[in-house]
Symmetry: D2
Subunit: 263 residues, 4 copies
């Protein structure tokens, strides 16, 4: 249709109470604005910079938490998977399985995710050209699963920095619906001491730009207290800014839409 | 104010008749839309890839053509300068002197341009971090000239390719008004055989994104027949698309504006 | 000691006969030159661009082939692992477990490899700054395994291209012994149609440079018929060039050595 | 021949006494090692980051100083030029005119330098692909001057950082003799506060690598007291390290040579 959807939630499941609190708060905002909303949280952060970092409740407990959340809220739920063997279990709790950017070239993981029949969101690797995502799409299609989308989250630009190439959005939209990840795109990888830093001040700038360039959805890691978040707090959007940001994005989407679809 | 302005025209003065034709056509469009308009054309293309490429009428003849155009149309005129000794003469024909991206570190050129008292537009070099434009601004300020703005036109991204980092726009806006150059940003430097190639299909995408990110003006090289343009035709916007693009940009600007100024 | 070692072999186990043929041929060359030699081949190519590409004999059969090869030749053997659950089995056939570049941030894989007690070679991701490999080293050290080394194989440089930053070699050598991968560093990722292309003509240039910069070992995918190789033939070194290249590298290593160790 | 030559000296003419002192000291070292030596110093630093930075004695006085130095020492002298109109005067004092990297696309400057009949050294811009230097060579050749060489000094790699792509050396050697600039390649552009910083600890690593990769000459800014240098001290080689570095480079050059020329 052209309706902008939102994937949002805390980076990791910090506790069942916290994901419920976040889902409820975000759902109130998106309902008010008429934005389709998919809840996002990870059960395991498998590629933290440091081995001491918090990783989450793990596959089984995390999946159970997500399933209860989906039932209680009626929201579709997205979570990311890291090994082929985890996909079936994760699919019990989640409506969308997400392939992390670092793993977007791992054939078995993509195939296992595709075979669950769940929708699949593949994040484009920081080392992948947008046109090369056609190979990922080709792998997914061999599973007979045609419910997938692709997410832009920045490209390597020198060391400890990412740049978002807005040309990637129309290039990937020829392959599948495209989501812009406004919070990982402002990461400064490993720039802090043992954890990735971030520039949350650029979340509004980049998401506005991406929506004007043309995307189908927006991905945001949102936290009610980023300074205390157990993962990726440095680049999370503070919940208190979400409503205002979405209002602006919807207005831009509408302004850009006629032209975007006409091209 | 927040009103989006336009700098536009053919890359180079192909003939007096052609710049007049282009200025008239663009002026009709911008008048209808209420967009402040600055005419742009170069009297000399001093850094063509090949020595055989067309360079323009030269400093004196070009300046005279621009002055007559300004008088006839009432439009302010922008042209680029390449040597300190050319600034005074160019200033007779132009209201805005532009420092090309490759030359944005040449102290004497910046000082000479600043001393003319004309407004100065400095294009950020493809090799310069946005925060380092403060040094350029510092040089300009020593001339007592405070009428200047900065233009984003892409950063080096591997070979024969540029990427537009939308974060540069708010970073540079802390220093001066910022223009986004939507046509040079889609150049593929020297990628063609002896001339720079381009991806004009991305002009709408990148200008929409930049306006949503937040800029003060847009720069576009516009030609009524890009395939026959004597310079940079590969990345020029075809005149026939200008009206539609500006309409979209104005709508996006308005949608983004409340938020942009509120940040 | 300062003795340069070699890790080399075909990209993938094409057949038991072929890996034996390659191991024998390379061993003859390295024995003659007094170069310590570790045989390399993959049992599974888990991140091929296309799902139709040849992947190898798989974990169990591949491990058995490698174990027989090690017994027959007396050579230490290296192979790469892709999932934590594969490490124990792979360790039965291999003396060195290698973490692929795309997976160098996957904590569980690094820990599982470390816990086998086998030596571990971690390839630096194309998206990782050399100083950030300290986090990988930290993860490995928590397993009590101190037999590891790090491999440079190029950094993302725009799209479909890698650049080798020779500064990474001394930076990483402060963390562990460092290997330079002269064949993956000349890959042009996904640049060909569905497979990665390569520039084998630059293998000698980059390996000479790396040895002069200072490394502990060299990694080369070597094939007796690159045009017919079942994986990565586009960037493999033709076996017929190996002897001459090693001679040059040894001479450069000796010439550079006094200075390198004196710094 | 294959004999490695050296271009070296202080970044800028700090005083006549200082350039003489530096030339004498370097000449003693190169004579002892049998290395052909070209003295280098700039009369004007035209692109300093800050307008307050020291720029040198200027064109006329600088040229006179260089001419007297050439006469007294018998050394060939190199200096860089920034405007077409300066080339003839600079050619009175210098045997080699150098085009700065930022200016390598300025057609008139290249033509003016070529027309003096002096040898011309063009530094490859940080934003230029090595194969595109053929266009620069083409411009020079239209002047009938065939005495030119090309210098590698790093490519833009994200912000405030350069990377040396060693592949550029053989690519450019198909066009002309190639020099590796070991001191500007370790600049961190504008990373310090208003001046470019540097990583002189990487000068030996990169020059060793470049010589092993294969070059015709080495360019080094050398100072007897880098901490007090009036320009670019942050990336200069301390004079006291020059002899040891050259010894190593000559040994590597000899070790690599047979192979390099045989390719």
């Amino acid at each position: 249709s052209g309706k902008l959807f939102l994937i949002a939630g805390p980076c990791v499941i910090e506790s069942e109470a916290h994901v419920r609190k976040m889902a409820d708060a975000i759902q109130r905002i998106t309902s008010g604005l008429g934005v389709p909303y998919i809840f996002k949280a990870s059960y395991d952060k498998a590629n933290r910079t440091s081995v001491e970092s918090f990783r989450g409740p793990g596959l089984k407990e995390g999946t159970a938490i997500l399933r209860r959340l989906a039932e209680a809220t009626g929201l579709p739920v997205l979570t990311d998977v890291h090994e082929p063997g985890h996909c079936e279990i994760a699919a019990e709790g989640a409506d969308v399985l997400q392939i992390p950017a670092f793993l977007c070239r791992q054939t078995d993981l993509i195939l296992a995710a595709g075979r669950t029949g769940r929708a699949v969101n593949v994040k484009k690797g920081q080392f992948v050209a947008p046109w090369d995502m056609k190979h990922t799409v080709g792998k997914l299609q061999t599973t007979g699963n045609n419910r997938f989308f692709l997410t832009e989250r920045g490209a390597s630009f020198g060391y400890n920095n990412l740049v978002v190439d807005m040309r990637s959005l129309p290039i990937m939209r020829k392959l599948a619906p495209v989501v812009f990840d406004g919070t990982h795109s402002v990461q400064t990888p490993s720039a802090a001491n043992g954890v990735s830093g971030g520039q949350p001040e650029f979340i509004p700038v980049l998401t506005r730009a991406a929506v004007a360039a043309g995307v189908d959805g927006i991905f945001l890691e949102v936290h009610d207290n980023p300074a205390e978040a157990k993962s990726d707090g440095a680049n999370a959007l503070d919940l208190k800014y979400l409503h205002g940001l979405l209002e602006t994005l919807l207005a831009i989407h509408e302004a850009a839409h006629a032209k975007v679809t006409a091209e």
